[in-house]
Symmetry: C2
Subunit: 415 residues, 2 copies
């Protein structure tokens, strides 16, 4: 693959045109062949991964863990390809169709976006996962992964590209940027006219950098300062179960809860109960004055900055509020518009919360952790959009498509 | 209204929150009151417009014409408000709803974008038109019109804002940028965190400038290098009717045809016939060598640049092609992805054209001029998107909305 980024863009566009003409059965068969190839060549993949794993002494344990491949992990990655093969293909679906006043038959048809760029960190599984979702939705993809995973990524792409070639297709449907310098990344983010969309996947810092620097259209993903508001009229056990699940089941992810808002009428009773349930997880509690009065030494003071912070850790900030209005106002001020929950038995307040909270997903009596492409039943997820244009919330295959109007006439001209 | 652009953004956000809670009937009633107010105050509007019309001696006639208001034109603008009142309200509509594996009831609900920025030229009617569509879709709007129309725009906005105020609403749902300097326009385009989307309306030059400079999300509209391909198996009269309509009915607009591709087997017969039909419109013809051989002195040579150019004028470039494949290849190379037509009686070639052309709208046997929100039956149009993200083709009220997932549970937590 050439190091010239514009050349990669041109190659991707040519491949994208071919992908747009593929039939679903052909795409599915190729995805299954890719899965098989990954399993067959797992020894080669592990060799490449081993090269990446040398010189990682200075890196954090969880970083190295995400970078590490095993035979079992390769098997799981390959199984992911088989699952993508089984998903419904959005391409060609018609969202709406009607006949206009002039008698034209108009259909709004789903078509590929074209060329998708993905910028991600040192997780080799993202290479295969993103390539599979782009391929299934008939998009060419240009992947720019973290430099620490380069050997693994190149080997994985080599295997996928060989399958494309064996099937008579343009291997440039899947390309890796080999030059992992910041200069090349910057040029990638400015590849106007070639990249139809750029999707960053990874840490908040990576996403923010891409959003700030990119000149091509970006879909912002990931940041989640998620709240659970527990209403006065609510079930104490349900509230605690949801808080523990939303906070502790997987605290590092974007749909984990970061803030607990508690109605003042139940704070004295609920807060010690919830704190007790959180104890086994060693959650650090921070709170406003009222929460401190209730929990005493078991809670630290929260600063103004806390209300803005996505901890991605076993930390929870707690605020006692006077009403659902206060809760809504606080959430709309501090949230990242990701996922917000109310725990209540009151009909009016549940509706107020659902109507007035500005977020990709709003919940009554459920954990924020459900904001996820798999949990929503999309069978896949390329990320969770926290922006309002094009896609909002979990993005599956359909979010990797656009539409075109297909119009059939009998000689109509405009009056 | 303050001249500080960030302050305008803050005010718009506050107003947007209120707009999100309005009921449809209330919005419609206010739109009708706005229409009435414009008619009642037409003398004041004409006075303000007169100020704009002073010192326009150096401006082109058609520019001054677009800037000029008359009592009749004000009546038509007011009637537009009544029409927007009659359109269906997209807010609250549910695109899809289902129950997931965990038993959560998930609905994808249409909600406002929030704050919309519009940058446009010296057409006072756009002020009212854009304000009405944003208000009906519960979005706050910040309008930045051409400096030549400032007096008219301020007076129109004053009248609309007074109606909002009389109805107990925040007048800042509709704001005008009074400072029409380039510096302020630049700061407007960088109003990240306040503007949810910026839509430029006007000339290709204006749109290009906004797309290049903006840091907020932009919806690109308007550029249309549209083609009509006439197949070997086609109806000669239908082909000529479509060409004349697409080229001459309103040549200055983006969905007008700019290029004619003609199959070689019918070129000798069709081209003189079509040229004859174009004669009454004094269309300047430019063509490739084969077209020149057929028409002789009646056609000028076309340059490479011609194939890229959107004339927006009585000029047509003509190319003779060998096949539908050649036509598709040429169009996908040179088009602006707006609107493309094939004239054919052949089923296979019609399907190939519809499938393989990359454009917002593709037609069989119809004029490209139909790409329009009103013609498509949307009842309104804020512009025609030529980009692939969020909206593609004519944008009506629904394209001014986003979605949120509204999820109702009974205490579900994630396993």
């Amino acid at each position: 693959m050439p190091s010239n980024i514009v050349e990669l863009g041109k190659q991707a566009q040519r491949a994208a045109y071919q992908l747009g003409q593929l039939e679903t059965a052909q795409k599915n068969s190729i995805l299954k062949s890719m899965a098989q190839a990954l399993n067959e060549k797992s020894a080669e993949i592990l060799d490449a991964n081993q090269k990446d794993l040398e010189n990682t002494e200075k890196l954090a344990t969880n970083f190295v863990d995400r970078l590490t491949l095993t035979k079992e992990r390769i098997k799981a990655i390959a199984e992911g390809l088989n699952q993508v093969a089984q998903l419904p293909d959005p391409i060609g679906n018609v969202d709406k169709a009607w006949v206009n006043a002039a008698g034209l038959s108009i259909a709004k048809r789903r078509v590929p976006l074209g060329v998708i760029g993905i910028i991600y960190e040192a997780r080799p599984n993202v290479t295969v996962d993103a390539a599979a979702l782009c391929f299934k939705s008939s998009n060419a993809v240009i992947l720019r992964g973290g430099k620490e995973a380069l050997h693994s990524n190149l080997k994985l792409a080599e295997i996928l590209r060989a399958v494309l070639k064996d099937n008579g297709l343009d291997a440039n449907a899947i390309q890796i940027i080999e030059d992992t310098s910041h200069e090349t990344a910057a040029r990638f983010m400015e590849l106007t006219g070639y990249l139809d969309v750029l999707i960053p996947r990874g840490s908040a810092r990576l996403i923010k950098a891409v959003v700030n620097k990119a000149k091509v259209p970006v879909i912002e993903t990931g940041a989640g300062n998620c709240h659970v508001y527990v209403d006065a009229d609510s079930d104490k056990k349900m509230a605690a179960d949801i808080v523990v699940n939303a906070k502790c089941q997987r605290p590092a992810v974007c749909n984990a809860m970061e803030k607990l808002l508690l109605h003042k009428d139940v704070a004295d009773e609920y807060l010690p109960y919830i704190a007790e349930k959180l104890k086994p997880y060693h959650v650090e509690l921070r709170g406003d004055k009222k929460a401190q009065q209730i929990l005493g030494a078991a809670i630290k003071p929260a600063t103004e900055e806390d209300w803005y912070t996505e901890y991605n850790d076993y930390i929870l900030a707690i605020k006692i509020v006077d009403s659902v209005d206060d809760a809504i106002e606080h959430i709309n001020k501090y949230n990242t518009k990701h996922s917000e929950t109310i725990v209540t038995n009151n009909y009016q307040r549940s509706e107020q919360f659902l109507d007035r909270i500005d977020a990709a997903a709003v919940y009554v009596n459920a954990s924020t952790r459900f904001t996820d492409g798999f949990e929503y039943g999309f069978g896949a997820e390329i990320g969770i959009s926290t922006q309002k244009l094009h896609a909002r919330g979990p993005m599956g295959l359909e979010e990797l498509t656009t539409t075109k109007y297909v119009v059939r006439g009998q000689g109509q001209i405009r009056k």
